[in-house]
């Protein structure tokens, strides 16, 4: 709701080549840590009576290294709602309901996030409920097996989307060894087999649901003093674990790969997926890649104007890289009007990329992209939930919420040469996986 003066002046100064202020987030990020290693982050924000309470677990589908157990981090997220001895399932449901909070969880490549937004006056209860299940989760075999059906139901409803099907196929061929090979939902055969993995689920909880994997984040009508006191009271007894996962290293890709979903009566899709670096807040690469994608694919870009507005061969195009713990993908998607233009559109995208390797983008274009990024961020920070979401994104990828401020310092430093460098380094045919949707039998794009 409130943006500080610092934020506004940073935007104004960006255009004058004056040094930009250091912090994009105009609210203090107050960090603490319990003796058991649990990190506790508080961000006071003017939202009378309202607080967002997040627990960011640095465990996701990346951690699924065992054959036949893909999708398990996500499945486990479901199990976290199945109660404890103190609060068996129904008591947990009633207690959660009594807080009146909007509570849920989600899982992705590198993390599982549990969140509640609600009455700041109920924070004590929220801490109590969360600590109980994070420390004392207990579910029956029956609950375990029935929850597996809900996950299959989730897979079932997702599978209606050709984009989901494409994503599953694309990841599977883009990666050889790394666990990014499977989506967070997991392979369907593993999802069907989940009811048989009860013992493994206990092992999973024991390994990963430990304070060293967790960060508590509270944003809103709170003080650090109160949050630290609650964290100490409720999470102080959480035992530190000792498990460190070893994720297989992906070998360097050496040639372009292709995959395809055959689908009639659906707008054709061309997707180019380039291997991109792991996120490192101290390195320029990912920040330059983000700005490169903005310059290349935003509505202001030459490519968008040509393909979407003038030629009307493409319905929409976008490109973006995911901040991830290990090298993942920078992905470009174009939805086409006519499948006969698939090769042409792919060639035009590659042509635009190649131009970025040889011709430096002008400084004004880059400055405008940076300015847009800052305003876009500032305008999005309008509720405890949106601030918590933004911070959670940096916590799971780096472990440090201050990375959010560091990231925008890095964006400020990106030069036209950096854009050329990352285009040359990452947008290469040997790191590319092409994925398509059309009514053809096989990928119609070379």
């Amino acid at each position: 709701m409130m943006l500080s003066f610092v934020m506004v002046s940073s935007i104004m100064m960006a255009g004058n080549n004056e040094p930009a202020p250091k912090k994009i987030l105009p609210y203090p990020i107050q960090q603490g840590q319990l003796p058991n290693g649990l990190k506790v982050v508080t961000v006071p924000y003017d939202s009378p009576g309202l607080a967002a309470f997040y627990i960011v677990m640095r465990v996701g589908s990346r951690d699924e290294i065992d054959n036949g157990r893909t999708g398990f981090a996500h499945f486990f997220e479901h199990m976290m709602f199945r109660g404890t001895e103190k609060y068996p399932k129904e008591a947990y449901s009633d207690a959660l309901k009594s807080t009146g909070a909007s509570a849920n969880a989600n899982t992705s490549l590198d993390r599982t996030v549990y969140h509640m937004t609600g009455n700041a006056g109920m924070l004590d209860k929220m801490f109590e409920l969360e600590s109980d299940r994070f420390m004392n989760l207990k579910y029956s075999v029956q609950d375990f097996k029935t929850e597996a059906g809900a996950v299959k139901g989730e897979y079932t409803k997702n599978s209606a989307s050709p984009y989901e099907q494409l994503d599953e196929k694309m990841n599977e061929i883009a990666f050889e060894k790394h666990t990014y090979k499977h989506t967070t939902m997991g392979f369907f055969k593993d999802v069907v087999d989940m009811p048989n993995q009860y013992d493994f689920s206990l092992e999973f909880f024991n390994k990963f649901y430990r304070p060293e994997y967790a960060t508590i984040l509270v944003v809103g009508d709170v003080t650090q003093e109160k949050v630290m006191a609650l964290a100490t009271k409720y999470f102080g007894a959480w035992q530190h674990g000792n498990y460190v996962n070893t994720i297989p290293v992906e070998p360097t890709q050496t040639e372009t790969k292709y995959t395809h979903v055959k689908m009639a009566n659906f707008p054709p899709v061309v997707s180019l997926n380039y291997k991109s670096p792991a996120y490192d807040p101290t390195k320029i690469d990912m920040h330059a890649l983000d700005l490169l994608n903005t310059v290349l694919f935003s509505e202001k870009s030459d490519l968008y104007k040509k393909l979407v507005i003038e030629e009307q061969k493409v319905r929409g195009i976008n490109g973006g890289a995911t901040n991830s713990r290990d090298p993942y993908l920078s992905q470009i998607y174009a939805s086409l009007v006519d499948a006969k233009d698939m090769q042409y559109v792919k060639d035009e995208i590659v042509k635009a990329i190649e131009k970025m390797k040889t011709t430096a983008v002008d400084q004004t274009t880059l400055d405008q992209a940076k300015m847009r990024m800052r305003y876009s961020f500032a305008m999005g920070m309008d509720s405890p939930t949106s601030i918590a979401e933004a911070l959670a994104g940096y916590i799971w990828v780096t472990g440090d919420p201050e990375s959010i401020n560091k990231a925008y310092e890095m964006y400020d430093k990106v030069t036209p040469k950096d854009l050329m460098d990352v285009a040359k380094k990452y947008y290469v045919s040997t790191g590319l996986t092409i994925a398509t949707i059309s009514d053809a039998e096989n990928c119609p794009v070379k």
């Binding site: 709701m1 029935t146 209606a160």
Partner: protein
């Protein structure tokens, strides 16, 4: 004489045009200005042979540039400020939302006003927007999300023959027939100061407020009268349409019946409590969720609704901007397994003829039936009311959401629905909730829309039509751990009587044409 009539009409229009409602939300600490301009029109204003025209007109305004700037020039101009604007069209309203940082308000303002008052309506933009809209109704809606498809198809079934039937985006034939000239006419017929409400949120000045209201009130009045929204048909027993498509992994289900109740009526708060207990959106506390998902592992979730809930698959909390006077109750059962799917997953189920759809529908109806008959108990009532009073405060966390709910309130003849609902909930009694259920709910007459695989359609239709027993087909691994209570209850559910008076199988390729 003719001239005199014309002048009188003009005066009347002028008088009306200065009366556009204004909804203000002054936020002294906010640096963002949000402006929403709501027109009471919506897809009910589409001519019967040009379904989709209101949506296309709104898209042409929002995505087509102004008389002085093309859409590309506008995008270039506003790009560095990350200012944004978009149109949202529902059955009875179109809303244009503009968001800009206050640093850039003065620069953005003329563009914003021009978009609404002087849209470009160029041929090339029209071709692009029409192509995308046609693609949506012809392909995307049928092949992206079967649950969204089933929800839209239920409206097609429930409102058949009325101006509420078609998708907001229209029908294939409707969109195909729209010309640029139609758009221009529709704009002057249905987008005017006479059916407009202006909403503004942020730290704006009194001068700015005056300027924007004066400028927007300068729009001519809408030339056409806004039609009444059609009421849903009353189903006789159960009327079912099964939409069959290739390679559907599950059966997606939406059921419902018309309900003469909206947020305008205080009874709505009473039914909110009942509905929350039976099927609160994406909450594990609700009855259907517990029975169908948690106990029986049948799908991803099961919910009920007493008004339109936009993009339920994506939104955890309800979005404003979809106010309607013509309302209905609905049940959403997320995709359950088909026989083909189950047979592929578990050898022990190789002989089953239908999947879980019939059982899931029976289970939901039986639960609702019992709830109406027995009523809520005091404890559930108190807990659910407490939950809602707190939960509703989360509906409007951002200025944009707050302003949206205030505009909705205006539509329903309320000042601030979220506040008023809290007051109504505070004073509500259990007896009022139980009375509201009896008055507005029933379980014997409903429309049911099912999207499923071609192999499931015929046996499922037979099972429903003949009211056959539909025993649950659990895998061995699950059946072995289910309690006798659950298995015994299943026996009561599997032959719960559903009188189906009408059932049809529809080819997916023929829907929304």
């Amino acid at each position: 004489m003719k001239k005199l009539i014309f002048n009188i009409a003009l005066l009347l229009i002028t008088a009306v045009s200065f009366g556009a409602d204004v909804v203000e939300l002054k936020l002294s600490k906010s640096d963002i200005i949000v402006i929403k301009v709501m027109f009471k029109n919506g897809s009910i204003c589409d001519p019967s042979d040009k379904a989709g025209l209101t949506d296309m007109t709104a898209s042409m305004i929002a995505e087509g540039g102004t008389k002085t700037m093309t859409s590309t020039q506008i995008q270039d101009y506003i790009y560095p400020w990350a200012a944004s604007y978009f149109a949202s069209v529902d059955k009875q309203v179109s809303i244009f939302t503009f968001e800009v940082h206050k640093d850039n308000l003065d620069k953005f303002y003329p563009v914003m006003i021009d978009l609404l008052k002087n849209p470009r309506f160029a041929e090339d933009d029209f071709n692009r927007i029409k192509s995308n809209q046609l693609n949506y109704v012809d392909e995307v809606i049928r092949s992206s999300s079967d649950e969204e498809y089933s929800k839209k198809y239920l409206e097609d079934l429930l409102f058949r023959g009325t101006n509420m039937q078609h998708l907001v985006e229209g029908t294939v034939a409707g969109v195909q027939s729209i010309t640029l000239d139609d758009v221009k006419k529709h704009y002057s017929n249905f987008f005017g100061s006479s059916n407009m409400t202006i909403g503004i949120a942020g730290n704006y000045s009194a001068d700015f407020l005056k300027k924007i209201t004066t400028d927007l009130n300068g729009m001519p009045a809408a030339k056409s009268a806004i039609p009444e929204a059609g009421k849903g048909r009353q189903p006789k027993d159960f009327e079912v349409e099964i939409v069959a498509k290739d390679n559907a992994l599950g059966s997606a289900i939406f059921a419902g019946f018309p309900m003469d109740l909206t947020r305008s009526n205080d009874d709505f708060a009473a039914l909110m409590v009942a509905n929350s207990w039976l099927g609160e959106h994406r909450k594990s506390y609700s009855r259907l969720y517990q029975k169908i998902r948690e106990q029986r592992s049948m799908n991803y979730g099961d919910y009920t609704y007493i008004e339109w809930y936009n993009n339920g698959g994506g939104n955890m909390l309800p979005r404003p901007g979809f106010p309607r006077s013509s309302n209905y109750f609905s049940i959403w059962l997320r995709p359950v397994q088909t026989a083909k799917g189950l047979k592929g997953q578990y050898p022990e189920l190789k002989d089953i003829e239908i999947g879980h759809a019939h059982f899931a529908i029976r289970m939901a109806l039986r639960e609702m039936d019992q709830m109406i008959t027995k009523g809520m108990n005091k404890e559930d009532f108190e807990l659910t009311r407490t939950f809602l009073r707190s939960y509703m405060k989360l509906y409007a966390q951002t200025p944009e959401q707050q302003l949206g709910y205030l505009l909705d309130s205006k539509f329903y003849g309320r000042k601030d629905w979220l506040k008023e609902a809290d007051g109504l909930l505070a004073n509500l009694t259990l007896e009022q909730v139980n009375a509201a259920m009896t008055k507005y709910w029933q379980t014997k007459n409903m429309f049911i829309a099912i999207i499923t695989d071609k192999t499931e359609a015929v046996p499922l239709a037979r099972s429903l039509r003949d009211n056959l027993d539909s025993p649950m087909s659990y895998s061995n691994v699950l059946k072995g751990v289910l309690t006798p209570e659950i298995l015994n209850e299943d026996k009561l559910v599997q032959n719960y009587v559903m009188k189906v008076s009408n059932i049809n199988i529809i080819d997916s390729n023929t829907t929304f044409k």
